[in-house]
């Protein structure tokens, strides 16, 4: 069946391929530890469906029964990842990086099309501080915490210092509790690979003991099509000594690790990773995985373990033989960009142990995927069960986009989940209803 439709797609080509081949097929399981992997479907025109941005109006995202959602802050300048400081202040990294030059006519055209699905606001290149001390779901204090950054993305706090992963360097700032603005000169811990920066985001997480900072560095292409020379130390995770800045590459072939987090029961490092495009609407699943020290995750030569990507030449069979399978598939093209674990009992009920996943949403399939925050239940530090929708409503019934989730952050002290939305430039706050602390 799949083979037949692939042949059909090849024969029809052109505009017909869009309709015939961009649609996913029913009965294919795209999630969990053992996803179905349909045959490769390459089409002359990649299926592109951009959800038209329409904004929220009076709507908010929809959470399960018993939760309420408020806009903690609006009119941000492309909010991406967040961090809650010990005193409850919320930091939001804002910006847009990248800017790899177009090499082919395709790059020019695809760039124009994908832009339709993004905000028109210019990236802030800054970190905004939000304070909601009375817990009413609106930030009554809002300041520009750190300005003049270069596409900041990953954030971490360890022992009186704020760490910021800019698109080209990992820097830190001294921080005193309660501070609402930092003007100190950034101290550079290490440079980060930034040539081209096709995937520019630098994810960041601190180890549980605070000695190590992990940085996720995305690939410089979809599937090696800019040549492998530009992929040196790309599609990797670095472990960086917090004191010396010495670094070690702990995972390779991990295409675009867009968010890193420490699983609280095992203290293991986990990542959400965006996989490759243009080999079918249901390939390749984006995934959630523990980052195993020394592991090779296949990119670009193979996907989901040792399934060869025929677009990559020369092939590397001896390397592919070492490729490991990720732990848990999230679905193809969902564009997972946020990861935060529930801790200290989470929200209780069905949300005690597990991970919140921010899914920015697809462009490379006709039936949109992602555009929501998913919950992956864990047990004993491992995924256990099907993902469930936690926050939805980012798409209208007509398939237009009200917002697109990026970073997520579960704050155990205040029992809230924060969700950055880089289309409506909002930070959403999800909290159990009726439990807001008295003012």
């Amino acid at each position: 069946m799949i083979r037949k439709s692939a042949l059909l797609c090849g024969a029809l080509g052109g505009a017909l391929a869009l309709a015939a081949c961009g649609q996913s097929e029913k009965g294919i399981n795209e999630v969990g530890p053992t996803p179905d992997l349909p045959g490769i479907r390459q089409t002359l025109v990649p299926p592109m469906r951009i959800a038209k941005p329409v904004g929220w109006g009076d709507e908010t995202p929809r959470a399960p029964e018993g939760f309420m959602v408020t806009a903690l802050a609006t009119d941000l300048r492309i909010p991406r990842q967040m961090l809650v400081l010990p005193n409850g202040d919320i930091l939001v990294a804002e910006g847009r990086g990248g800017g790899a030059p177009a090499l082919r006519p395709k790059d020019v055209i695809a760039g124009v099309i994908k832009k339709q699905g993004n905000t028109k606001v210019k990236g802030g290149d800054r970190i905004t501080l939000l304070r909601d001390a009375d817990g009413d779901g609106r930030a009554e204090v809002r300041t520009i915490f750190i300005d003049g950054l270069n596409a900041p993305y990953g954030l971490a706090y360890v022992d009186g210092r704020i760490y910021v992963a800019e698109q080209d360097a990992l820097v830190s700032f001294p921080y005193v509790e309660g501070q609402t603005r930092i003007t100190a000169t950034p101290e550079e811990l290490t440079r980060l690979p930034s040539a081209l920066n096709h995937h520019w985001t630098k994810a960041l997480a601190a180890s549980a003991d605070g000695t190590t900072l992990y940085v996720g560095i995305g690939s410089n292409s979809n599937a090696g099509e800019r040549g492998m020379a530009v992929e040196e130390e790309r599609a990797v995770v670095w472990a960086i000594d917090r004191v010396t800045g010495a670094r070690r590459t702990i995972a390779r072939g991990i295409r675009n690790p867009t968010a890193l987090a420490i699983e609280p029961s095992s203290n293991a490092l986990w990542a959400v990773v965006n996989e490759r495009d243009e080999i079918g609407p249901q390939l390749v699943p984006d995934y959630l995985t523990s980052v195993r020290d020394g592991a090779f995750y296949g990119w670009p030569y193979s996907y989901w373990g040792q399934n060869l990507d025929p677009r990559v030449r020369p092939q590397k069979p001896e390397l592919v033989a070492t490729a490991v399978k990720p732990d848990y598939a999230l679905g193809a093209h969902v564009a997972a960009l946020g990861l935060s674990f529930a801790r200290e009992g989470g929200f209780g009920g069905a949300f005690v142990e597990g991970a919140f996943i921010g899914e920015h949403g697809s462009w490379n399939r006709q039936d949109l995927s992602g555009y929501k925050v998913a919950w992956v239940p864990f047990s004993g530090g491992r995924p256990a069960g099907e993902p469930v929708d936690f926050l939805t409503g980012f798409l209208t019934d007509k398939g237009e986009a009200r917002g697109r989730p990026v970073g997520v952050w579960f704050d155990p002290q205040r029992r809230i989940l924060l969700v950055a939305d880089d289309l409506s430039n909002t930070v959403w706050r999800v909290a159990p209803s009726g439990t807001a602390p008295a003012q």
Partner: protein, 138 residues
């Protein structure tokens, strides 16, 4: 022959020279890519094919208008047909070359490049043979 007709034929000839050169270049750079797997060769092919299409399609439309306006010989139809077929296959090939890595060329892309090259050479040879536009001149 009037001055404006001569100018028109000169411009038409210039337009056709682009697909002749660029489809040929595309076939050569495709071959280089398949031999070396150096992606820059495939990138060259992508731009060559798009350039060939822009000028080739303009020349093709021009030839269609001439066919409609004047009584023509079968050679003129052959010329238009070769140029049109080159543009059609070239369009498919442009999409093929938008795929990533090895898939940007492969056996299918290289075959299309060779066919486009051959058709453009036929069209160019006819254009410059002096055997076209006979009815129009008389």
């Amino acid at each position: 022959m009037s001055g404006s007709a001569g100018l028109g034929r000169a411009v038409h000839g210039l337009l056709v020279s682009f697909p002749v050169a660029l489809f040929s270049l595309g076939a050569a750079t495709d071959a280089a890519f398949l031999r070396t797997a150096q992606i820059q060769w495939s990138n060259f092919s992508s731009w060559a094919i798009v350039g060939a299409l822009i000028f080739g399609a303009t020349a093709f439309l021009w030839s269609l208008i001439d066919l409609a306006r004047f009584r023509r010989t079968s050679l003129d139809f052959l010329y238009s047909g070769a140029l049109g077929a080159a543009c059609l296959l070239g369009l498919v090939n442009a999409f093929k070359h938008s795929q990533d890595g090895w898939s940007s060329v492969g056996a299918f892309g290289f075959t299309l490049s060779i066919l486009c090259c051959a058709l453009a050479l036929i069209a160019g040879a006819l254009r410059y043979s002096g055997m076209l536009d006979k009815e129009a001149i008389r």
